[in-house]
Amino acid sequence: MTDETVSVPPSEGRKPDLPPPMSVSGPWAWMRENLFSSPLNIALTILSLLLLYLIIPPLVAWATTLATWVFPTEVIVGDRSPRSSDCPDGACWLFVRARIGQFLFGFYPEPERWRVILSFVLGAIGIYGLLGGPARFRKYAAIFFFVVFPIVSFWLLRGGLGLMSVPTEQWGGFMLTLVIALVGIVLSLPFGILLALGRRSNLPVVHLLCVIFIEFVRGVPLITVIFMANIMLPLFLPPDMQVNVLLRVLVGTTAFVSAYMAEVIRGGLQAIPKGQFEGAMALGLGYWGVMRLVILPQALRISIPSIVNTFIGFFKDTTLVSMVGLYDFLNMVKTGFKDANWVGVEITGFAFCAAVYWVCCFSMSRYSMHLERKLHTGHKR
């Protein structure tokens, strides 16, 4: 570029040099540029500082310094059980500490809780193998996650065959939330793929049926689907074939997520260029061959971020099962409020609940963004 040490001699008619600009880098320049560039901007900055000042210090104080973290000595010694009056001010984390076992496992018998932990560790391994692990193990991870894991974890959770039997009425808390969410995702993917293929099918009857199912389910709220499954399913089945509440709710939620999954996968299918179909057909593959070997691997890969987003939405929606009387995480926390020892801890309870859901959903959404960047490479030119 130009050499700045060379100074041009003042010539006839040339105006004197302007003073050098004020600093264009450093914190002051950054603040001038980003916070105080115009009167409106100054006003907005002051307004948001005021907002932060009004919200953050009281909130932090409520959650930390004013809050009660440790049990009083009588409780530790074992003279009495803890109660809400042990928390004079701020958040009552004692409530969470006293009931964390129920929040996580519901009424699952305490000596058997290792089974729950083990089955979710297995699930986590399967998900890692599917999404993050090395590509050559992906096929085995898929078989493990969609076939082996459901059977093994059902055996672990429900018991029988040498393990103590734990009826589903005792399942609850965060564990039940995870069960509902995982059953939803494991079952809704195959159903969603079938529905999406059906919706794009050339066979008019299949197409119509899939459109009706998808649009019906997407047109009504989830809670009405759960409600309908809960109340109507017993009417639809013969009297000697009745199923318990959890299974009925799972039928409803799976039907619901499948419809949304179908739309996500249809989006992925539509993004595949026609040449891929024609090329695969030209190789002599039949419909299922084309789909299984050429189209679906590409379409599913494109739709993975949207699938994760659908799953996040569904994970939040699992709270709705509390409205038909299942004791999921939210309902377990709410049940804790009914204890006469814990009066007035609702705000703490809901704040804890919100924090747990937030951590799960936020980390999943970050992961989905990471996947999106990772998977984007081949398609953007």
Partner: protein, 397 residues
């Protein structure tokens, strides 16, 4: 062409067995699907009829005329214990629509503001908006609704210590009390003045548009129109000596009398739903504005348009095309999510249908009414938004 296809079909007739023919297989598959479906439906209906007979539950909608026998805490149309079940369910539908309408309006406003704030050059503002979006959209709506409900009931003072805003508005754990406008006789004239103002404003706008198209001369139609719409009713009401009186809520005994009450249930629903949905709308708005290429802005500046005009004439019309379809699904979500109001005791359609189901023991009809209601609303909103979308869609040559 005809020869080729004829040759192909002749070839198929001679060389391919019929069970390998794609079309025949398609027909057979469809027959199989229909047969399985019919069997399934027959199984379900046979069981249902059988079960209903066994339980002694009749089918039919005549129960809607029977007295409900349960009261609901809030309704626009008057209901009481003796109202028919049909009327109470209708009240529930109106409650659902009312809550949806309020939430849609407020969530749109808040969402657009937050979305624009996220794009602000001001570091603090954009970070605050990001924090808002990332916090609220990752917490289940039901948790938020329950939180707001409990917060209003617990943190707001009781009626006697209600937060007093200029003796006009009172906030307590029984809800928010605001003044109720009571129109007097001459109020009709003010309404007429408002109508005339709107009509004049529309006329002037169209005249100004035609003149600008013909001569290029501009006319401050926005300011004049606003002046007419606000000014004419104002002059009329001043001339008539203020024909609207305000009934201010007053504390008598243990509760407020007079005025309008926003119940804690409805307030919590509106707060929670608005805050939650606004976080999604903000992302849609941000995405839509970002999707308009920067070249459009630069070209508009190069033509000499001012930033405000650029936003109004160049950026917003183009981003609306991207914003409208996902916005539709957010509006549908709001209508569907009002069903969660049952958890905080707001008498929406879902909770009333639940009560009615328990009272009458008629599951099939009650659930059918609710499903049909939501399907009709979904279809209406999608039809309207499709129409709007077509209207603003890009007209390509």
């Amino acid at each position: 062409m005809a020869e080729i296809s004829a040759g192909r079909s002749r070839g198929r007739r001679t060389s391919i067995a019929w069970w390998r023919d794609e079309r025949t297989r398609g027909i057979i598959w469809q027959i199989v699907v229909v047969a399985v479906l019919c069997l399934g439906v027959w199984f379900i209906i046979a069981n249902m009829v059988d079960n209903l007979r066994r339980l002694g539950i009749p089918l039919g909608f005549d129960f809607l005329n029977a007295p409900a026998g349960f009261a609901i805490s809030f309704s626009i149309i008057p209901t009481d214990l003796n109202s028919s079940i049909g009327r109470v369910i209708l009240a529930g539908m109106i409650n659902t629509l009312l809550a949806s309408a309020i939430c849609i309006a407020l969530a749109t406003i808040l969402g657009v503001i937050v979305g624009i704030c996220r794009l602000s050059k001001n570091y603090l503002i954009s970070r605050l908006a990001t924090a808002y979006v990332e916090t609220l959209r990752n917490i289940p709506l039901l948790v938020q609704l329950l939180f707001w409900y409990v917060a209003i009931l617990q943190l707001f003072p009781n009626v006697r210590q209600a937060i007093n805003v200029f003796d006009l508005m009172f906030m307590s754990n029984r809800g928010v009390n605001i003044p109720r406008p009571i129109p007097e006789e001459d109020f009709g004239i003010v309404l007429v003045a408002l109508a005339v103002g709107i009509a004049l404003a529309i006329g002037i706008a169209s005249w100004a548009h035609r003149r600008q198209m013909a001569t290029g001369q501009q006319f401050p139609k926005g300011r004049v129109g606003l002046g007419l719409i606000v000014g004419l009713p104002l002059i009329a009401s001043l001339a008539l000596g203020n024909p609207v009186s305000w009934q201010v809520p007053e504390l008598t005994g243990f509760n407020f009398q007079g005025g309008l009450v926003l119940q804690p249930e409805l307030t919590a629903l509106v707060l929670g739903m608005t805050a939650y949905t606004a976080s999604f709308i903000a992302e849609i708005v941000r995405g839509g504005i970002l999707a308009v290429s920067h070249g459009q802005t630069e070209a508009a500046y190069a033509l000499g348009l001012k930033p405000g005009t650029t936003l109004r004439l160049v950026i917003i019309p183009q981003s609306l095309r991207i914003i409208v379809p996902p916005m539709t699904s957010q509006y549908l979500n709001i209508v569907k999510n009002t069903t969660l109001a049952g958890a905080i005791a707001y008498p929406d359609l879902f909770s009333i249908v639940g009560t009615s189901l328990n009272q009458t023991g008629r599951p099939v009809e009650n659930i059918a009414i609710m499903m049909v209601f939501f399907l009709v609303i979904s279809i209406l909103i999608s039809l309207f938004m499709n129409w709007y979308n077509r209207r603003i869609a890009l007209v390509e040559r």
